[in-house]
Symmetry: C2
Subunit: 513 residues, 2 copies
């Protein structure tokens, strides 16, 4: 009898706690968005302090004794089984997060929060002054903490698994090593073939100057076209593009514009549009539970990459929009042709900076970071050696040597914020996107015609049904298996890349003609 | 010994509590601004719920037992005297607010919060359908609550004083009766003289169509000109214009534009600019204490009215900006002349709607509401009689009979939100603005030339030094006395109005020529 009487009450308490946390996240989310887009310069320092206070309040609630007790009550045998699937998943996820946090002694956790907050400022300064040694002691402490955290969290086989699990539940070094080693080899092979090809796409559109006001119109039209809902969202500008889902009815995107670099705004916008449509289409029914979020960081990235690359860089996409593109820019784009545009947006050119990388070499940037993170964690390399190791790998994979650490090991913000184990999700996004696309093509064999005709609705609806509507009721692994019938594999992605570049660089199979 | 050891600690606890409250207010302020300006339509309902939760959290902190205890410790004899003036004032204000709240039984307060929240929706519906009876039971309960609250708060002489005190500390019915009766008589006399004048300003600029984009440029330029700081603020659009001071480094304004009504945007913007400059110039040293806010609602309004009317509608102002005005609008404003513009922005024409009233008759709208509020509170009239009483007063003062309640008793949102005692501060703002202007003219005898030359800095600095820099270290009454050397009096305002309209409507003294 006890359980039966208690469980509706426990569920009610749990849902009220979750609602309160959601309310904090929603309001602090607005304030965060505001700081990145709207807030006047002078006011930001004070907002940042205020935001710190309220974020702490939200976090306190998620790890409170009250939360722990109610989660334990709901996880009891005899109770858990009676819960709706979405509540089961929400309880599981929250309890896992709470237990993870509990394993870190409070004092160490507090010190780490202070450390990463300081480290981000130091990293900024170090990057600006090209001074790795300034950042080194901070990164050493961050790696030490993560090494210790992995031990405290516990893991099987490899400490990196404990960190990875935070962003990509259940993902392991073993799987990644298998996948990434194949991918690395194949990408490097493709890269060579491309570099040996006699076809060299024209770069003359690098000289196009397209007015920012018209680029804004294009960005908006493309988002409307692919199915992003402006009645439940916005598109603004920020230094670093991002998507923020405040609730499924308010999902905001940002992008950035440069008159002489239209690819940046266009593909940045479509990328965030992919993230945004995911957030907009997680069912309201899951809202407020922990099942009402994306399946994983990698799956989130699969949505942005799918729309940005699989769709947005395809020939069919440009067949569909070229007339409108030329109409919007008028005189400014009068020389643009479909025949030149498609190779232009797919130019392959190894470069030093991840965020500026082409589609093909992007994953190499990720694999490089993944290899270094693992080696740092297992002490195979030290932080002091990092710049040298970075440069060696860059040379090996891309044939390029960074002229300084600013364009090398100091380029990314992630490590300074303590995000170790995050990078692999970027490459997973690429791999997932191709696996999903191959399955989609079985359900929508004419999908390329749909793209040509700008009829994106069936494609979007396929993603909504298969991916978005599930929230995180399944893990990425379960979701992928359910949708594609197979486990993670890089084969579809390699097929997709080979096919794309074969057409553009005119080689057969993996060989230049 | 005890006091000496405890008081720094008590002060520290107090300031930490205040800081936390400020942080909540700042972040919820951003979310509120966002709802009014930026949030996509679909997301607002959820934001509103989240905002409710966090506002409650902030309020809870301001009336907590912990806050009460620390305030009491700081107010103890032997401690209070040692506090810095700003902390004394902050403690006094907070304690007064807390005691005020404590006097209402919690159950009644909760019911009232629910009541006013519902009443605002009902009022909207009632106004839309011109159905006072729908709103009547809600307004009855609101008046009942305020009557009871006045008794619980306690007062001398008149229950309305207890409500008034909340917006305008220390203001009394006796003072307002004296001031308003003179003002009412003089305005009605001036109105008659104006209506009998043979001068009838041309209304042909009512037909001007000025593009919204250019009106935005004008609004921005005028704000920059008078000294509003855009590096610590923004100007956006909203249905109802407002100013929100998140902190002194981030004070945001909104306005609204209509192609065929440029006066609305221009004067709306200058009005909010006056509020905004006040908020921007309250010293950082007072920030986070309760002394770091405006002296009173009426003093706040004096700043908006000063810039909107005393400056913005003056001939000198238009001498200064007419060329730029014509330059911005080009062809659209080619027929505009200084000689026609000044009378045009000062047209006197009695009307039914307060927010559309001209400068002269505006105060009559306020006096009407003040008289009704007093009579409702003392049961001299009932809520049921309100429409009839409203219409009678409108006829008496303005010579106009509202054709329905929508343009009569149902026009304002204030009562539905429980704001009884607020209206008088609008008229006080007018009166204060003229008292301040007369004193300013003694310090800056050439201030009219400064305005002609668009050299607003000395005028702004006078206001900063005399008003803004004091925060609420003094009450409105104390501040006015200190600055002008005199108590509240409507004489300067009557002199200002007479002088202004004498020039425009060309009569001598109070008589038409």
């Amino acid at each position: 009898m006890k359980e039966n009487n208690d469980h509706p009450k426990a569920l009610e308490i749990y849902l009220n706690l979750r609602k309160e946390i959601q309310h904090y996240q929603e309001i602090t989310g607005i304030a965060h968005w505001d700081m990145m887009t709207m807030a006047p310069k002078a006011g930001k320092a004070l907002h940042s302090e205020a935001l710190g206070t309220l974020s702490t309040e939200a976090f306190k609630r998620s790890i409170s004794k009250e939360m722990e007790e109610v989660l334990e009550a709901l996880m009891e045998k005899g109770t858990f089984e009676t819960l709706d699937r979405k509540y089961q998943r929400s309880v599981e996820k929250d309890y896992k997060g709470l237990q993870r946090f509990r394993k870190i002694p409070e004092k160490e956790y507090r010190e780490y929060v202070v450390l990463t907050s300081k480290a981000q400022n130091v990293w900024e300064e170090a990057r600006e002054n090209n001074d790795f040694q300034l950042f080194q002691p901070y990164l050493e402490k961050i790696i030490d903490f993560n090494r210790r955290a992995a031990e405290l969290f516990g893991y099987e086989e490899h400490p990196y698994n404990a960190l990875l699990d935070h962003y990509e539940e259940g993902m392991t070094v073993k799987e990644l090593d298998d996948i990434f080693s194949v991918l690395k080899k194949e990408i490097i092979k493709l890269l060579q073939t491309i570099q040996e090809s006699s076809v060299k796409p024209l770069k003359k559109y690098d000289n196009l100057e397209l007015s920012v006001e018209k680029q804004k119109i294009l960005s908006r039209r493309v988002l409307e076209m692919i199915g992003y809902d402006f009645s439940a969202g916005r598109l603004d500008e920020s230094v670093h593009p991002f998507t923020i889902g405040l609730n499924p009815k308010d999902v905001r995107l940002t992008t950035r514009y440069r008159k002489d670099f239209f690819k940046m705004a266009l593909y940045g916008t479509i990328h965030e549009g992919g993230h945004g449509m995911y957030e907009q289409n997680i069912p309201m029914e899951l809202f407020g539970t922990s099942a009402g979020s994306a399946a994983s960081t990698g799956i989130h990235e699969s949505q942005s990459r799918f729309w940005e690359n699989v769709i947005g860089r395809s020939e069919e996409f440009w067949i569909g929009i070229i007339d409108e593109f030329k109409e919007i820019f008028g005189e400014e784009a009068k020389e643009v042709t479909l025949e030149e545009m498609v190779p232009y947006v797919n130019i392959v050119e190894p470069s030093l900076i991840r965020v500026e990388a082409d589609e093909l070499t992007y994953s190499l940037h990720i694999i490089l970071r993944y290899e270094l993170e693992k080696d740092l964690l297992t002490k195979k390399i030290s932080v002091a050696e990092l710049p040298e190791k970075w440069n060696a790998k860059m040379q090996e994979m891309m044939g390029l040597l960074p002229e300084n650490d600013r364009v090398g090991v100091l380029q990314d913000v992630h490590w300074s914020g303590g995000m170790i184990g995050y990078f692999p999700t970027y490459a997973l996004g690429n791999i997932y996107s191709a696996q999903l696309a191959e399955t989609m093509e079985k359900d929508l064999p004419d999908y390329r015609d749909l793209v040509k005709n700008r009829d994106f609705e069936p494609i979007k609806q396929w993603m909504v049904e298969k991916v978005h509507s599930r929230g995180s009721l399944l893990t990425a692994k379960e979701l992928l298996k359910e949708i594609t019938g197979s486990a993670l594999t890089s084969e579809p992605y390699i097929r997709y890349l080979t096919e794309k570049y074969r057409r553009i660089y005119k080689f057969s199979g993996n060989k230049a003609e």
